[in-house]
Symmetry: D3
Subunit: 322 residues, 6 copies
């Protein structure tokens, strides 16, 4: 079935969408309308539903699936949906909200498998035990949490998918540089953002929690490592434990980005770069997916407000890579 972003600009559309948010507003001359954000797995779009009656307000609540007849337009360079008419989806229609939520492009089982392999590759006993302990404690949340409130990987399973992508890059980099300790690097990557399961409220309508704001995911995961050691009776003064703690503290690279210390071991420096690469690839991918070839994307706030060009040049995998 055709998805929201399979339609071109100015094309008529008729499809099922999930109401992500619905805010009751009034026009300047006091007429009520609904400011909606609608979504399916191809992305989300804003839309205004004019002249909303009280019963409209009552039925078109966030979490409901609707059938919309309208047109995909553009407003100030951002996609917008003009609604001609809409109604709630019925029971015999695809009305399950889960069908419309954006989620990681790899399914959970595949990801679990990848993590199991990575944990297996952590041959250092202390690090292996700490990682297993924390992953077990937060397994459910870890595979659901987004990697951020917005910006990058802001969807169900985004945190796990982001972490998995980083592990893949890390593997090829450790192969190139003897200087790096694979156990430390893998353990650091797996744990680096786990604090986000406490910092963020979850995959839908994601907000920062009070702990998230007042402490932040960097110190929250530090604390989890600390408590894991107590629980597992691992002496925290072991150098490998201390280095792991340093890795999670330093992974933002610079103090002004919230790391209380700057990287002081090669693994800490490298995690920072791998994190950057995967986050930025994800942001560019999202922005360019919505852009026509030969045009520039919308500006990406978290990349210094730059806009990226979608090339018309053909991409071709070299034979040697197939």
């Amino acid at each position: 079935m055709k998805k929201l972003y399979d339609y071109q600009k100015d094309e008529q559309l008729n499809l099922f969408l999930l109401i992500k948010s619905a805010e009751e507003k009034k026009t300047r001359n006091n007429k009520p309308y609904l400011a909606l954000i609608l979504q399916d797995t191809s992305g989300e779009i804003s839309a205004n539903y004019w002249d909303a009656s009280p019963s409209d307000v009552e039925q078109f609540k966030p979490g409901r699936v609707i059938k919309v007849d309208g047109r995909r337009e553009e407003y100030n360079g951002a996609p917008q949906l003009r609604i001609k008419q809409m109604r709630l989806a019925q029971d015999d229609e695809p009305s399950n909200p889960d069908l419309y939520i954006e989620r990681a492009p790899v399914n959970k089982d595949k990801m679990i498998e990848a993590f199991n392999q990575a944990v297996f590759d952590i041959t250092n006993a202390h690090l292996n035990r700490i990682v297993r302990y924390i992953m077990k404690k937060y397994q459910r949340e870890f595979f659901q949490s987004p990697a951020a409130k917005k910006n990058h990987h802001a969807y169900l399973g985004g945190l796990a998918f982001h972490t998995m992508s980083m592990l893949k890059i890390a593997k090829s980099i450790t192969a190139s540089y003897d200087l790096l300790n694979p156990s430390l690097l893998y353990a650091g990557i797996i744990l680096h953002d786990v604090g986000k399961v406490i910092e963020l409220s979850g995959p839908t309508a994601t907000e920062y929690t009070l702990e998230g704001k007042l402490v932040g995911h960097i110190v929250l995961i530090y604390d989890e490592i600390s408590k894991a050691c107590v629980e597992l009776k691992i002496d925290e003064s072991h150098e490998d434990v201390l280095l792991l703690k340093h890795l999670v503290l330093a992974h933002h690279g610079e103090m002004e980005y919230g790391s209380p210390v700057r990287p002081q071991i090669p693994e800490a420096e490298i995690i920072h770069y791998i994190d950057q690469i995967d986050a930025k690839m994800n942001m560019m991918e999202s922005a360019l997916r919505k852009t026509e070839a030969g045009e520039f994307s919308e500006r990406i706030w978290a990349m210094d407000n730059r806009s990226f060009f979608k090339s018309t040049v053909k991409k071709e995998r070299p034979a040697s890579e197939e």
Copy 2:
């Protein structure tokens, strides 16, 4: 008895001093000499001991007290001691090194009393118990530790003295602003720098420890609060506990100074300013103590390399304050 800094520039002196450090060096044409730092409670001074024989090197070690005959001079604006001759102090002379070490200007008992009063003023039960627990655990180190490796309060007892001075200012500020929670403010001040007992190696020849470098005192004290809660069976999700943790994390005020989060409650913002005031007053006092009236001090690196003017204007306490 006259102290080192009771002597004027270019005055002859003859007094007992402690060898703080002694480095064996060679002149460009290969003659051995000792680069010394000597001290008594009035401050420290550098001095070169030329043509040092192997037995000189052997006897003039750090920690020994010597009797020096020489002259106080100046080199590039910094005080320097020209040594005419020197010998080890004898047993019937004031040869106890403790007599020469710079230390807090208030004795430990007085400080303990002040802290007891402050802890008593923490009426919030959770905060009171956490503060007592940590202060008891680190009592010995807390009253010995300097507040920094260099810059401010870098002497025996400096950490406790700095903290006590902050409490005094805090008391008058809470009296002015209803917005502030005294329990929270006092608890935050008492704990804010306790992590330095782990970050620094101690009051003499102070260095950063490995934990100090890779984690830092801000996260170290956070971890202590966290562990105190476990030990005291205080649920860490209580808002007062969370705010205390936030206070210690945010007390550097800005992320680029190592706080992983910026102040988000008034008490956190205010601790930052009180910390600044006391640290800067201490640095200016140290620099101006060595400056003649009517002159500018040496530059203070930690205050953007500024130099301060020592006024010749008479100071007078107003009658109302006596």
Copy 3:
């Protein structure tokens, strides 16, 4: 009587308010309306009055008191008043505009008394005479002027109240540090912002004057000190006079905030911090007054756009302070 901010969000209200400003606007489809800012002593709120007739525009002018029937709402996180109906207050109702203007929480006589005491504590004769001269010259304006156009203490008497609060803190700080000269510190604090009576147009509809923009309050008060010396036949080359001039020039602490020189005496450094503390406490107080406990305040632009948390933890003065 219940004030504007005694009402909760979404509560119906019916009360007298002063029109602070009233701008005639048109909706996109060309219907006239009035964009109002209304206030009483508890604060101000914006409101739109739709379908304003020419006679409405005529009568609902700034400076008039109105009786409003409406509801306190919220728009984009900022409080807003939805007007059901409104009319001018009548003569037998509380129609005096002065009753609605925000002003310093301490009355003028109390403040005058506090300043008299502070001036009395300036025992240095030159400084005492200069301060008396300038305060007499600008007495009326000083006790009326706000401390700023917006941000902090932006109300009638705000300048005097801000200065008085700083004196209180200064008193406790001079008591702790012998290094400081109380006469100099008090004189510097009293004068530091007096230039604002020239820089700003006054307590209502405050704007920058041309002199305020092209010269600024820092140099304006410097000039006043200079002229006071001529008038009082005090030789300006006296060190105490020069230091006072330095204090007012340096009180913004950093050149990028408009001080032509950075602090070079301890009193100058300390005034800067006391100024910061009082300004920031005032901004946090204002923001948190409008915030529900357990929520974050609106962002405070002048504090790096941070938002502050209003704690639900009970505050308690320690017994020792009562």
Copy 4:
């Protein structure tokens, strides 16, 4: 045979070294000495040769191999060689200077092979031809040039080795992200620093050339691409050519690092990160090679003057990677 950096601190040594530079100096009291930098393939070290006679000055010239009897010491944390005696190497001794020059750890043939494969993987015809043309034109210089005057890969073959390492990482990253065009990425990496063969004077006693200073390697390679197109009759307005030019211009990532434009296509953003990773790994490797386990390295200027910790924790390749 034992190399320079196989000796520990304070160990006696007796080995052949190349004179990298020799500056005639005088001590403060006017005695001549030679300030030498000596090297073998394990690294370089400074040394002073005291009381140098005119004939010493004559014979101990840069480029000569000497036999040295001395001791490895440390001065201000940097390694230094104390010379007891030294003489020129004789013809029947290993007197060929080439034996002592630091060079890429992979030999030229291996590198050529890697580049051939990478060029083969550039399936886009324009890009393939441009890359072949430029690589042929500068082949000799490319495999000799260092990648920088100092900081990273500052040795014979360093430029080629750095480029090859980047290609390896790029290969694994293109495999992860469909968004990237492999032809463009590989062509961009191969060419990104080729301008350094013009910017720098060559592998020994490397200096910036006048063109290097006034134009810089970024614009120099841009110009080469431009000229290659003229030569190869490729229309420069083809989008693939324009993108390649953009890649080399933007590869420093930020304008303040000398890129006249910031990255505006994903390949440009990614090259910047891969460049950073390889340069920084190389700098950390160099610094940590000279550091004892359990100690911190010397400060690395090009990494914000940070110092890195050499861990004592055992490194182990996971079984899955063998």
Copy 5:
């Protein structure tokens, strides 16, 4: 005939204007209107045309001349035109769009003459030939192009006029400083912004071209010099050619403004300042032209968002200058 900006605020007007842009929009309650930008040679103004019918949309296209009856108003401090009615200009009315386009205040022939003189003053043969070659190649575009998309000299002929003004200042500066090479300075100024004829799309509805965005005018003109040398068989390794290339690369003064190298010869430093002076004079002139005497102008974004005061003081040329 009276122009747009000869009318005061709130004055009725009735005049011919060119439609610069016309965007079809909808009000919040879905009524169509045209958001217009109208202009004549005195400047441009925005205006909304409410209740636009399909035939209105059809006829009121960019590039058409209209007759407007309306009033000059102000909205948020920016001039705005309220349209009472409007219609297309007829053939016997001044309907030629060229009559309304803002253009350089000096006509093209005068400018050509000035450039001829300047080129004549370039006595260095290489530089003279290069300048002539490039100016001939781009003559038509050079005298049409604006100097920027917005900010300064953003009108037909703006690039040539800006360059000519710079030459005038340069002439007086070279007369004062022997250090400067006039040939080099004049050649550098003439060419410095010629790359803008490629970077920008032309004098109307100016946009950045793809090359403009991905390469930028600084490197584009570098490339033109390089190609001119090939064409003219001038060896590019001549120092004068290299210095000219350096001049165009360095003329933005700082790397963060897009120069890949900073000025390293006096002529490069000075061009940067002359460029700044002329650009800023132009921006201040434009802003103050629209400002009443005694008021502050709108904020100028490219001058750090400053606002400038339009003085009421009489200007008088000194007799000596007439």
Copy 6:
């Protein structure tokens, strides 16, 4: 007669020089020597006089003229004089110190004439009177003072010469831009740095005065204008007076360079640029005067530590300028 900088590097010299400063020092092994700075009108050079006897120290004092036999050398890229022997100049030799002091390249009478013309061109009566008054008050100091302690125009008459050069540029700029008020611009330039006669101690051994440090030349000249108005009974609220005050306050262009307000009228913006041009031309001239053609100069600290290239390309005035 040949001057110091007429000698090449490594050339023997024998000439008269003035001792600018002479500091008694000791070598590491305690031998006394004199660290001298010697000068004639071509510039200054440092030199060490080894094994200085007490009578040497007595006779070779600053302010004495000596005859030196030695060699011009280079040390760390800076010129240095190696002294073979030296003696005091005798009465029948050129022993007048004034013959050796660096001074403005234009004599005082010529400069006075230029200033008279400029003052004559200030047709605005208020500004004319204020300028005359202040110039008369400080005439003697103005024509003696350097323009700075170091960096630019740091010689006798430097302040007047710098100001005169700025006037020359200003004249050509006002001719180009009608926007500028010549009276205001000339008055602003003449006065902008007059505060330096109070800020600096004078042309020899220049130091900052206490007023210079605590107030600074920007506010000092503001104060002089203020007092001139009182003296001349000119009402300070006249707009022209206020603008003149603004000019001197704003002439450093940015607040972080010490201007308490940023430029808000075109004349203020332009003075800043003219000041920059003349200061930088002077610094580049000084540095390049000591540089061989084809080489780079020493780094110029006040120009972001850049080094400038001395071109070998022939300079030629165009015929049209002769």
